[in-house]
C-alpha cells in the first residue's frame, strides 16, 4: 500500500515540471531581452525617427533609410571591404591553419610542442584593444618600424590607407593563426597512424603522405569550416577594423567595414536610420547565408550540419 502511494507520488512528480520551467526562466528572460527584442528592434530601420514618440514607436515609412544608405558611396566601400577581407581571411586562413596543423602534428611527439602550442594560441586570448597598442608600438610615429627598420625616415602608417589591407591581414593572422589550427590538429590526430606506416613502406615521401593521406582525410573539416565562415561573410571582425586602425578617418577607404560603419553612424553621427539599415542588411543576408551553407553542409557531411 505505502509502496503504491510512493509510486503514485513518484508519478505525479514526473508530471510536475514546474521546477524545470523555473530553471529555464532566467535564461529565457535573457534570450528575450538580449536576442529576441533586438530582432524586433530591426524594425527601426523601416521607421522615420520621431524622438517625441520614442525610437521604437516612430512611424513606419518603408525603405527610406535603405535608400539613403545605398545612395552614399560608403555603402559600396564597406560592403566591398567586408566581403573582400573575409574572402582573403577565409581562403588564406585555411591554408595557414592547415599548414600550422601539419607542422604541429609533425613535432607533436616532441616535448617542445607542449610549449609552442600554448604560445601560438596566446595572441587570441588578448583583447583587441591591447593588440591595437602592440600594432601602434610597431607603426606609430616613434614605432619600431619607422625608427629601427626604416632608420628614422618614417611612413605615416596611420594616414596612408594603401598599406592597411596588408597590415590588417598580418595582424589578423598573427592573432588567430595558432588558435584556428587547433581544430585541424585535432582532426589530424584522429588519422590512423598505420596509414602513414603503410605509405612509408610503399616508399611515399612526406609530401606524398601529406597530399595523399592527410589532406584528403581532413577535407570534411576544411569544408565545414569554410561553409561556417561563408555564413558570416557580411560580418567583419569588428574589433580588428575599428581598433587597430585607431579610428583614423584617412584609413576609411580600406578599413571601413559594415560593422564599423554601423558603429560610427550610430555613435558618432547619431544616424540611427542608416545604422539600423546596415544592421538589417547584415542580419538578413547573414541569415540567408547561414541557412544556405548549412543546406550544403548537410549534403556534404550530415553529422556536422547545424540543423
Amino acid at each position: 500500500m505505502s509502496q503504491e502511494k510512493a509510486r503514485i507520488k513518484g508519478n505525479s512528480k514526473r508530471q510536475n515540471h514546474a521546477p524545470l520551467y523555473l530553471m529555464l526562466l532566467p535564461g529565457l528572460a535573457y534570450l528575450i531581452v538580449n536576442n529576441y527584442l533586438p530582432m524586433y528592434g530591426l524594425t527601426i530601420a523601416f521607421r522615420k525617427l520621431d524622438y517625441q514618440k520614442g525610437i521604437l514607436r516612430s512611424p513606419i515609412v518603408g525603405f527610406q533609410n535603405f535608400e539613403f544608405l545605398f545612395k552614399t558611396k560608403d555603402a559600396w566601400i564597406m560592403i566591398r571591404n567586408t566581403v573582400g577581407y573575409n574572402i582573403v581571411f577565409i581562403l588564406l586562413g585555411i591554408v595557414v591553419a592547415v599548414t600550422i596543423a601539419i607542422f604541429m602534428t609533425e613535432i607533436g611527439k616532441m616535448k617542445v610542442a607542449k610549449v609552442i602550442q600554448p604560445i601560438i594560441c596566446f595572441p587570441n586570448m588578448i583583447s583587441i584593444i591591447v593588440i591595437s597598442y602592440l600594432v601602434y608600438a610597431f607603426l606609430g610615429t616613434n614605432g619600431f618600424i619607422n625608427n629601427t627598420i626604416l632608420g628614422g625616415q618614417g611612413i605615416s602608417w596611420y594616414r596612408e590607407s594603401k598599406y592597411w589591407p596588408v597590415i590588417l591581414t598580418i595582424v589578423h593572422f598573427w592573432q588567430v593563426a595558432g588558435y584556428s589550427s587547433i581544430i585541424y590538429i585535432a582532426t589530424m590526430s584522429g588519422i590512423d597512424a598505420e596509414l602513414y606506416e603503410a605509405a612509408k613502406l610503399d616508399g611515399a615521401n612526406k609530401m606524398q603522405q601529406i597530399f595523399h593521406i592527410t589532406l584528403p582525410l581532413i577535407r570534411p573539416t576544411v569544408i565545414l569550416m569554410l561553409l561556417m565562415s561563408v555564413g558570416r561573410i557580411f560580418n567583419s571582425d569588428f574589433g580588428l577594423f575599428l581598433q587597430v586602425p585607431m579610428n583614423s578617418g584617412m584609413l576609411y577607404p580600406t578599413t571601413q567595414t559594415i560593422d564599423t560603419y554601423s558603429y560610427r553612424a550610430l555613435m558618432e553621427l547619431n544616424d540611427v536610420g542608416k545604422s539600423s539599415a546596415t544592421g538589417v542588411f547584415q542580419s538578413v543576408l547573414g541569415f540567408a547565408l547561414v541557412v544556405i551553407s548549412n543546406l550544403i553542409v548537410r549534403k556534404v557531411d550530415p553529422d556536422s550540419a547545424l540543423f
Binding site: H17, P26, L31, G41, F122, M246, F287, V290
Partner: protein, 304 residues
C-alpha cells in the same frame, strides 16, 4: 621486434621534422615578439622612447612608468578593479544561468524541450545586430552608464555554451541516476545542485574560462554604453586613452609624447605599461587553463 622498429621510425629526425620544428619555433617567436616590444617600451626611459623610438632592448632602463601607474592608482586601479568585478560577477552568473538552462534541455521527459531548444538555437542563426541591440538596451532597459551595461549585453549567456553543457550532460550523466534520485524524493533543484553540477565540472570549467576571457577582454559594451569614467574597465580605459590621442593627432594639436594637462594623456611608455598591466592576469592564468580552452574549442568546433 616490429614494435621497436615503428617506435624507432617515429623518433627519427627526418628533414621534414626539422623544418617543422624550425618553422614552428619562428611562429612562436613571432607571437611573442610584440609583447616583448611592449614590455621593453614600458621600461625604457621616456626620453629614449621619444628620441629613438620603441626598441626591443632599451639602453636606459627606467621604472618611472610603473611609479606613475602607482601614483595614478585611483583611476587606473579603479578601472582594474572594475574589470575584476565585472569578470567575476559576469562569469558566475553566466555559469549559473547556462547550467540551469541546459538541465531541462537534457531531460528527455521534459516535453517542451524541443521548442525551447529551437528558441535557443535560432539565436545562433539570426541576430538583431549591435545597433538594434543597443537601442533595445538603452531605450527599454536604460542600462546606459550603469554597471549592468558591462555585464548584461551579449556576454551573459550564449547558445553555443548552453549546447556544450547540454551535450556534456547527455553524454556523461545517465538518466537512470536522475530517475533513482527522483524516486528517493530529491527535488529537481537538488538533483541539479547535487548531481548535475558536480558531475559536469569539466565542461563548466571550460565555459567559465570562455566567459571569463570574454568579460576580461570585452571592450564593446564599455564603448557602446559607458560614458562615465568611473565605470571604465581597464580595456575601456585603454580605449579612451587611444581615442583621445588619435583625436588630438587628427587636430595636429600635439606631438607625440607631450603630456597635456587637460586631457591627462599618459605618456608613450606609460601607455604600454598600462596595456601590459591589463594582460598580466591573462599571462598568469593562461598556462594553467590553455589545455582546457583548447579542449573546449575541439568539442565546440566538432559539435558546432
Amino acid at each position: 621486434m616490429k614494435e621497436v622498429k615503428v617506435r624507432h621510425s617515429k623518433l627519427e629526425n627526418t628533414t621534414f621534422r626539422k623544418v617543422s620544428l624550425i618553422v614552428m619555433i619562428l611562429v612562436a617567436i613571432t607571437c611573442l615578439l610584440p609583447f616583448v616590444l611592449m614590455i621593453s617600451a614600458s621600461i625604457t626611459s621616456e626620453k629614449e622612447l621619444i628620441n629613438e623610438g620603441y626598441k626591443f632592448w632599451p639602453k636606459t632602463v627606467s621604472f618611472e612608468t610603473y611609479k606613475y601607474l602607482w601614483a595614478k592608482r585611483e583611476t587606473i586601479g579603479r578601472a582594474y578593479l572594475m574589470s575584476i568585478l565585472v569578470t567575476l560577477v559576469g562569469t558566475l552568473t553566466n555559469l549559473v544561468i547556462t547550467s540551469l538552462f541546459a538541465y531541462p534541455l537534457y531531460r528527455k521527459d521534459f516535453k517542451p524541450r524541443n521548442v525551447v531548444a529551437f528558441i535557443l538555437f535560432f539565436t545562433m542563426l539570426f541576430s538583431g545586430g549591435l545597433t538594434a541591440s543597443y537601442i533595445i538596451w538603452t531605450e527599454m532597459f536604460h542600462i546606459k552608464d550603469t554597471v549592468w551595461a558591462l555585464i548584461l549585453p551579449n556576454l551573459l549567456m550564449g547558445a553555443m555554451n548552453v549546447l556544450l553543457v547540454r551535450n556534456y550532460y547527455s553524454s556523461s550523466i545517465p538518466e537512470s541516476i536522475i530517475e533513482a534520485a527522483r524516486i528517493d524524493g530529491a527535488s529537481e533543484l537538488r538533483i541539479y545542485a547535487r548531481i548535475m553540477i558536480p558531475l559536469s565540472k569539466p565542461v563548466l570549467i571550460t565555459i567559465a574560462l570562455f566567459a571569463g576571457m570574454a568579460y576580461w577582454n570585452d571592450w564593446m559594451n564599455g564603448t557602446y554604453y559607458i560614458k562615465n569614467p568611473m565605470l571604465n574597465t581597464i580595456t575601456v580605459y585603454l580605449n579612451n586613452v587611444m581615442n583621445n590621442i588619435s583625436f588630438l593627432k587628427q587636430k595636429n594639436s600635439i606631438t607625440e609624447g607631450l603630456n597635456i594637462g587637460e586631457m591627462d594623456l599618459p605618456s608613450v611608455g606609460v601607455r604600454m605599461a598600462i596595456a601590459f598591466t591589463a594582460i598580466i592576469p591573462v599571462i598568469v592564468v593562461f598556462p594553467f587553463i590553455q589545455s582546457k580552452l583548447i579542449e573546449g574549442v575541439i568539442v565546440g568546433g566538432v559539435k558546432g
